[in-house]
């Protein structure tokens, strides 16, 4: 079992100097709107690469009511018998805020890589209830985040791919792009694009497999299956000469892409759709509460995958999870909390709405 044991916030958001200790299984933060519950989740999420659950700028995280120009988050991460000291600090350099993470008092990249590969953060935010109603990019990001959970290097792949797409766009604007140059960029796009397609497909397959086997038979759960919708890759039956066809299609689209300023084909245009196999409905046709169940089922299946196939410790945030909590949704949460070895953080305004949890949850009143 691996988990965050505590957290100390200095000048972070609405907190001046705040300490909380956590339970290794289930933690409930309750308190009024604006008391800082989501802020605490955000602080924990900063220990991953990136700017955390809100994707906000670091300067916005510094407490504006204090006269300070940095924030600090200190924590202890427990991994079996090991305790790992974590210290995260904002730093202003060349007029830009960065974060510096010390793992066991050292900023060495080896220490961070070691720590990073011990756990994966999964989060449910209120807006995710509507994910099947939103734009494809939201679903794509959701899927990419799940893939990233299983493979931390995936984010580099995405970054390289996006970099090549932008490079191609800039080259196409030139009057006469150099032939060898644009060819090379398109070769790169094909290589990286196929890798992304593959990674996503592999993940979706294992997720579907896990969704099928979810041990949730007591209730009438949905049998959901996700699939990738992509105007390019879906049309190709024989994947043997995928590279050739991809490359040809890119060259063929140059003119059109130059005019639109984009790139018509590729994994950055994919969408993720889902169906319930019992009713045979597309997921976006279900009610809001039911759509929440889909996401919770996906998160449960995802945690199973992380534990079973990747030996990664899932640590799960459920921000304001209590709306639309019917028996089904409660059953999933209970399955996650009681059967899986997962550290969980739940937030809500009223502690009574968590009465369905067993009594050994760690209740923290945030004020």
């Amino acid at each position: 079992m691996r988990f965050f044991e505590n957290i100390k916030l200095e000048n972070f958001r609405n907190f001046n100097n705040y300490y909380l200790s956590f339970n290794q299984k289930c933690n409930v933060f309750y308190g009024l709107n604006g008391s800082g519950k989501t802020n605490i989740l955000e602080a924990i999420s900063l220990f991953e690469k990136g700017r955390g659950i809100r994707k906000d700028r670091y300067e916005n995280m510094i407490n504006k009511n204090q006269n300070s120009n940095f924030f600090k988050v200190i924590s202890t991460f427990v991994s079996a018998n090991n305790k790992i000291d974590l210290e995260l600090k904002s730093e202003l350099k060349d007029n830009r805020y960065k974060k510096i993470i010390k793992v066991n008092k050292s900023i060495s990249i080896e220490n961070y890589n070691y720590f990073e590969n011990l756990f994966s953060l999964i989060w449910f935010l209120p807006e995710m209830e509507r994910i099947f109603l939103q734009s494809p990019s939201v679903r794509r990001n959701f899927l990419d985040r799940l893939v990233y959970n299983t493979d931390k290097s995936y984010v580099k792949l995405l970054r390289k791919y996006n970099n090549r797409i932008i490079e191609r766009k800039n080259l196409l604007y030139k009057e006469k792009p150099d032939a060898e140059w644009i060819n090379k960029i398109e070769f790169d796009i094909v290589d990286l694009g196929i890798l992304i397609y593959k990674k996503r497909e592999e993940y979706i397959n294992s997720l579907n497999n896990e969704l099928k086997n979810l041990n949730l038979t007591k209730e009438n759960f949905f049998k959901i299956k996700l699939n990738i919708k992509d105007s390019f890759i879906n049309k190709i039956d024989n994947k043997d000469n995928l590279e050739d066809m991809y490359f040809k299609q890119l060259s063929h689209n140059r003119n059109e892409d130059m005019i639109s300023g984009g790139c018509k084909i590729g994994p950055h245009r994919s969408d993720i759709l889902g169906r319930d196999l019992i009713k045979n409905f597309s997921l976006d046709l279900f009610s809001t509460g039911q759509q929440k169940t889909f996401i919770l089922q996906i998160i449960l299946a995802h945690c199973n995958i992380l534990i079973k196939s990747f030996n990664l410790q899932p640590i799960v945030f459920f921000d304001e999870v209590c709306s639309h909590l019917d028996d089904k949704n409660r059953a999933i949460l209970l399955e996650l909390i009681e059967t899986l070895n997962v550290q969980i953080f739940l937030t809500g305004t009223d502690n009574n709405s968590f009465s369905f949890l067993s009594t050994n949850a760690n209740y923290c009143c945030i004020e």
């Binding site: 490079e167 191609r168 800039n170 150099d178 140059w181 090379k184 960029i185 790169d188």
Partner: protein, 198 residues
């Protein structure tokens, strides 16, 4: 000298690579306190540099003559060209001293985002140089980052139709601009185990 003049001197020095405001102040004060010992000789050296140092019209190295003394030397192998991003890479290789061919300074890497295209680098000059001088081998010693890789690939592609061996340094060695931080063994191993890419 008014404060304004000192300020503008500090400002000018702080624009140099590797200098912040603090170190620029320190240098300014030092120069002003040691006019005859430091400032005057520096002014003279800068003036000479400005008057005499020029780019080699063949390889874009800097020297007091063009073609530069490397290009003119009869102790060098005139059938091999090593392509580097920057003059500092040439210096690194010369300091180690095992490479005996000629150089070609590219002046950077291709990057459409940053507006650096084929014509902003000395790529076409390189192609012509290879054509006109019956060059037998071109060694690409550019960065291992994406831009460097792209640039290497594009150059190799453009040389494909010519009768010339094109090779790249062994993978996994950071090169080009980063050369200076490597020890001699690493660089010479990378050189020895270079791979043909055509």
């Amino acid at each position: 000298m008014s404060n304004l003049e000192i300020d503008s001197l500090i400002n000018e020095i702080s624009k140099l690579p590797g200098f912040g405001r603090k170190s620029a102040q320190r240098i300014t004060l030092f120069l002003l306190k040691n006019k005859s010992k430091a400032l005057v000789p520096l002014i003279e050296k800068l003036k000479t540099a400005n008057d005499k140092i020029i780019n080699c019209e063949i390889c874009f190295n800097i020297d007091t003559v063009t073609p530069c003394s490397l290009c003119e030397s009869n102790k060098r192998d005139h059938l091999t060209i090593c392509v580097v991003e920057d003059i500092s890479d040439l210096w690194t290789l010369e300091r180690i001293g095992f490479y005996k061919g000629l150089y070609h300074i590219l002046g950077g890497n291709l990057s459409a985002v940053n507006g650096i295209g084929i014509d902003d680098l000395s790529i076409n000059k390189l192609i012509n140089r290879v054509k006109d001088n019956n060059i037998k081998e071109v060694i690409l010693a550019l960065s291992t980052n994406m831009e460097g890789q792209t640039t290497s690939h594009v150059i190799a592609d453009k040389l494909k139709s010519l009768d010339v061996e094109v090779s790249k340094l062994a993978q996994g060695v950071p090169i080009g601009g980063e050369f200076q931080y490597l020890d001699e063994n690493t660089i010479s191993t990378a050189f020895q185990s270079r791979k043909s890419i055509l």
